[in-house]
Symmetry: C2
Subunit: 423 residues, 2 copies
């Protein structure tokens, strides 16, 4: 079964959780003047806004439609059958995988590119880990007729050829990071000419690039309040879709790296929790190798070199080496300040899965064979946690409406699945 609303019913506002948080978000530490200089102006305004509903400009709203929004909500009836779930336990999957570049990242990419263009910028710069964010920004830049440069963690750049071609097909310039373009990059290459890189290093390179070029702006694919704000379109759509069939979720689940796809789905429902006292269980699915929500809650840099300001967040430390996983998008040392605060308040359960990824990929296989959708490795964590939650509810004899986010597709990740599952 599919549940959807019409394109003309697409939400017209984002939901900003800041005014509804039970306590203020801890302040950012450090020199914000740099951030203000390199980021899209409108995004900086949104970052600290106290306005609950922020209107989506009409032209951008039409671009969301162009990107395929609203995206369907699927009731996973075949999966329910395979799990022998009793009536009353229902699984709903939000289909963010139906995206032009394969993930939810386009929601904020289109937004940042739109405002950058409006502010007279000519060029977007960013870093990417898994490659989903880089592709999304390349897409958005292309639609808005802007130039785009991407610093891509070398270890991933080397093997994800298809995604590299995709970014270039969109017209983006793509560099393996560390690169020769920046001071940070050149220093690291001196130590090790085939340095594998990290997301933190690539962020440092991006910031240095933006600071040394005119009309250029830095775009960020996760962590920031404004990025989570842009992603709330996911949760707002899902809420409207569930309303059509008179359902409201008891459990909301998604994978968490920087926190943007989780936040996008969950924040509008957190709003209901804070404003209307709704009871909802929130589950964040993570890799044991990058379980930043099980780290320390403290001030930490967002990037490797410490060029970015410090956020109060759950972190594993900004220079900690994380083991490689196929779900690269979950491989980041810190979690978004908003999600971190919600976790700190005891409102988010964290479920972690082994670094060899066999367990989560087997769940992705079950989801594929029953529902037919090929998940991104990151989304395999969401499906695994949703399945685990359903089985827990079944054992406990509880009724549960479970909503989970499938943030991306895996058409460009088959090699990763093969390496783990030997297809």
């Amino acid at each position: 079964m599919q549940i959807n609303i019409l394109p003309e019913e697409l939400p017209r506002c984002w939901y900003n959780i800041l005014p509804d948080l039970p306590q203020p978000l801890p302040e950012v530490k450090g020199d914000l003047s740099v951030a203000a200089k390199i980021l899209v102006g409108e995004c900086v305004n949104q970052e600290f806004s106290n306005q609950r509903w922020i209107a989506i400009p009409e032209e951008l709203w039409l671009n969301f439609q162009k990107s395929g929004r609203p995206r369907p909500l699927f009731r996973a009836t075949n999966l329910e059958k395979a799990l022998k779930l009793p009536p009353g336990i229902e699984l709903y999957c939000k289909g963010e995988f139906q995206s032009p570049t394969g993930s939810h990242k386009v929601n904020t990419a289109l937004t940042q590119a739109f405002f950058a263009k409006k502010e007279g910028k000519k060029r977007l710069v960013t870093e990417t880990g898994a490659g989903q964010w880089g592709s999304a920004l390349a897409y958005a830049a292309s639609l808005m007729e802007l130039d785009c440069t991407i610093y891509w963690v070398r270890a991933v750049y080397n093997w994800k050829k298809s995604r590299r071609y995709l970014m270039k097909f969109f017209g983006a310039k793509v560099f393996a990071s560390p690169s020769k373009n920046t001071e940070v990059g050149r220093n690291l290459l001196k130590e090790n000419p085939s340095h594998p890189g990290s997301l933190g290093i690539a962020i440092s390179e991006s910031i240095e690039d933006v600071l040394s070029h005119p009309d250029t702006v830095y775009c960020l694919g996760s962590v920031l309040n404004c990025v989570l704000l842009h992603q709330t379109i996911i949760g707002l759509e899902a809420k409207a879709q569930l309303q059509k069939i008179n359902r409201y979720p008891d459990v909301i689940i998604s994978c968490v790296g920087g926190g943007s796809n989780f936040g996008g789905l969950a924040l509008p429902f957190f709003g209901d929790l804070f404003r209307e006292g709704k009871k909802i269980k929130f589950v964040a699915a993570q890799s044991e190798g990058a379980a930043n929500l099980k780290g320390e809650y403290r001030y930490n840099f967002a990037d490797y070199a410490g060029l970015a300001p410090q956020f109060k967040m759950y972190t594993l430390g900004h220079q900690t080496k994380l083991p490689p996983i196929k779900g690269d998008g979950l491989r980041y040392h810190g979690c978004s300040p908003i999600i971190s605060l919600l976790r700190h308040l005891g409102l988010i359960e964290v479920k972690t899965y082994p670094t060899d990824e066999k367990y989560v990929f087997e769940k992705a296989r079950l989801f594929l064979r029953t529902e037919g959708w090929l998940l991104a490795p990151e989304s395999a964590y969401s499906a695994a946690a949703a399945i685990d939650e359903a089985e827990r509810a079944k054992e406990a004899g509880e009724k549960k409406i479970i909503l989970f986010n499938c943030s991306g597709h895996g058409f460009m990740d088959m090699e990763g699945y093969h390496q783990v599952l030997r297809l």
Copy 2:
């Protein structure tokens, strides 16, 4: 802009053009008892049905929803702008690429698997060229809990690793064709142990496999009347979508190999032409290297070995070697009898493009950079023909509503694009 209907508005019937054709479809020649034995029974009934509207069974209709139907119709406003089209020339793209396996093929795969299961079959067998059809059948078999065996043209099998993994991830058994499983295959391998294969050979292997195994049924991804029937859901959806904005197409365009995606979009509109005298121009986009609609209109075998019956169709000859192209899905010697008859009646214009594919891939690049959707190599031909038609109309000062089918996505075809465009 996106135009869509709700899942609950998904058409409930397929449109069968047979009773509306201005002259009867030439009869199939040869022993039909074999075909009747190997095909899904309900498909054989549909093949010769004279019923105009054929109801889609409820359970299958829900599976269509599960596969993401209805799929959006996009007005390609950015592309229109890039082409500097005057008001009155509008481009509408049907988004079949939003499919679980990447193409429109799932529409008939789900249908054949559904009826096979109903008829007590346990195993589906087929051949595949580009790999889209094989993936679609693997998907459908998995959803219906049936076994699936796929004979894949070796030349393509060897380099499309990701798609091979995908079929196996769904649980299908996949063999490079010619294979050791069949007499036909073994004979060809004796001549040449690394025989590159062809679609015709793979069809022969599939038929032999089915004939020698119980509870097994042969599924075909194109050419047959019933396959085109199943695909009419595309055109019926598109018509309902265009109605919502008070539009009716002047020109309908799609790429043609066996003819199923073209037929799926076009046949419901041909119905309007025959029954209501609507004036519509139909354009089939093909490769110069496989322009079967520019071949001879005569009886010919559908397969290489001549095991299948003979159809009256436009053909290049069933043992003719066709040059390799990235749009493998268009590389078949003959065209579906229905499309062939419509062509014979002078109702379809054929537009061919050079075998090096540079021209069509450049149009796919333009479509990607303006609209953001990554087309399958086959769909690049549709986009090219739509763009050419729009430019022709512009020069002629005509108003035109142009509807074209984008039958698949290219996430698993980036290597092909790279080889031609050097990304």
